[in-house]
């Protein structure tokens, strides 16, 4: 008799991890982390601005690219995980086994999450070590920022799995995952805040602001003010808005993306035919 669903899930996770560890994508991500970290440490020296003596500002500066790293991890380790089983026909070997589809998806998701958490942890570890060496202490709330980054990672990864479940080609799911979180949602966030003056609270990329906002003391709040500008003898009243997600709101939005993305990925993969 086949083992329990939980045991099978662990087996799937184990072999998915083995595949990641032997693939080139992990090396690319590690190389990117190294480049981002080195740039964060070298650029202040080159420009002559030097390192900020406040460990909080210094840490948030080094970690400023964590959003990009999370999107890249979801793209590399999640966006084609399901679709490739169909597209590359490995599913012809895997799916006729006595394993439920949702067990396969969850096993794969755990592996994607584990390898991505490792990458984000490496980035934070480099930042913490650099700050301790240069400033002599760890920034307050670094661990909270790390936890929020992981929450954001799980949310994005779940949506990447959803894209991976609906598309027939891995190119589409990879491109859509990357551009949705790297370009489309950030544009909506900026246009919403700066031009249309609404708070894009529903956007997961906007919600991810909590990762770096947590370093600010006090925690930033929404600021909407009007200013008068005179141009060619005409005075106009402009609205300037700066929106920030609250921690509770940010986490709630990320959680909703995670739950909806994962449930849809599970449901679609279960129904999907080969």
């Amino acid at each position: 008799m086949p083992p329990s669903d939980l045991r099978q899930m662990a087996v799937v996770t184990k072999y998915e991890l083995l595949k990641y560890l032997r693939g080139k994508r992990l090396l690319i991500i590690i190389a990117l982390i190294a480049i981002i970290s080195v740039l964060g440490l070298v650029v202040p020296l080159i420009t002559g601005s030097g390192y900020d003596p406040d460990p909080t500002i210094f840490t948030s500066g080094i970690l400023s690219e964590v959003g990009i790293l999370v999107v890249l991890c979801a793209t590399f380790f999640g966006a084609d995980t399901i679709v490739s089983e169909f597209e590359q026909k490995t599913g012809l070997l895997l799916f006729p086994n006595a394993v439920k589809r949702h067990v396969l998806v969850l096993g794969k998701f755990i592996a994607s999450a584990m390898i991505s958490v490792g990458a984000v942890a490496l980035y934070y570890a480099i930042a913490v070590i650099a700050v301790v060496v240069i400033d002599g202490s760890v920034a307050a709330n670094t661990s909270l920022s790390f936890l929020y980054a992981l929450a954001y990672l799980f949310g994005i990864l779940a949506i990447a799995y959803f894209f991976s479940a609906i598309f027939r080609s891995s190119v589409y799911s990879v491109v859509l995952t990357f551009f949705t979180f790297f370009l489309i949602l950030p544009i909506i966030d900026r246009v919403g805040s700066s031009v249309a003056h609404f708070k894009p609270w529903f956007s997961i990329t906007f919600a991810s602001g909590i990762i770096l906002d947590i370093f600010q003391q006090p925690y930033p709040v929404d600021v909407v003010r009007t200013v008068e500008r005179t141009f060619r003898n005409t005075t106009r009243t402009l609205t300037v808005a700066q929106y920030n997600p609250s921690v509770a709101q940010g986490l709630a939005v990320i959680f909703v993306y995670f739950i909806i993305g994962l449930i849809l990925a599970l449901y679609i993969t279960k129904r999907r035919e080969m």
């Binding site: 008799m1 045991r7 087996v11 072999y15 595949k19 799916f95 006729p96 006595a98 394993v99 439920k100």
Partner: protein
Amino acid sequence: MTDAIVTENLRKQFGQFEALKDLNLTIEPGVCVGYLGPNGAGKTTTIKILTSLLRPTGGKAFLNGIDVVRNPKEALASVGAVVETPQLYPQLTPLEILSYFGQLRGLDSDVIRERSVTVLDEVKMSDSAHKRTGEFSTGMKQRVAIAQALLHDPSILIFDEPTIGLDPRGMIEVRELIMQLKERDFTIFMSSHLLNEVQEVCDKVAIVDKGTLLVYDTVANLSSVGEGGVSLTAVEPITSEQCNSVQALPSVRSVKRVATSEILINVEGGLAEQSDLLDEVKRIGIRVAFYRPARSAIEDVYLRLVPEEES
């Protein structure tokens, strides 16, 4: 005893196209069944439903008495399958792939180690057991796929075109392997385009066309209803006069010239009539070099049941 494979009014629709129309098939345990039909007849659709890769539009499918749609995990527990030409995970070696699937199927690590060596040896892949499969040829991948199907010693083996993509030697080896498996009490259900292969390997034949089962019987029974065409090769060229004389014989339906010294004779009746015909042909003055069935019995039945434009 529970039947190994049962389909009850199995239907599958892809948009407007009806791939399976109320397919009813019962395969008893321990037999090797060849599943024949032209392209698009519904062979792969049937196999994909049986292996939980497709969901039927209607009807039911059972493996060892367990509903494969309702309980795929339980139904597939004792099934080994190779569907189409599956690809392998390029980062893993054959041993790792077998270990992966062995653990999914609940085998102990000692059993996996032992069985992996055995099945890789059976499919002649022992030398490549530790190599990553990324660079493997189609034939090598097919062998590893067959090995994983055998790993847990299942009671039912389902093969979809098992020799496709293999070189001639590989085809012969896989055919021999299936014949060995037959002797080990497996129920084997294999689709194939190669009629001779099915006649050589299988105990029973199911022919499907346009999603409907046309015939399901033993190879022996189907052989007895063949048309009885024979191919005759003479030592010297066969003259038109000799051809006409053969055509005039009472048991001969038609004569077709294939080469200067070879003709195809469509004979009425069975083996006795074919034997009598040989005597008559010699009497006409044709020196016979070879005298053999023009087509296999299964080919005869297949060509009779499946219209020309589809086959």
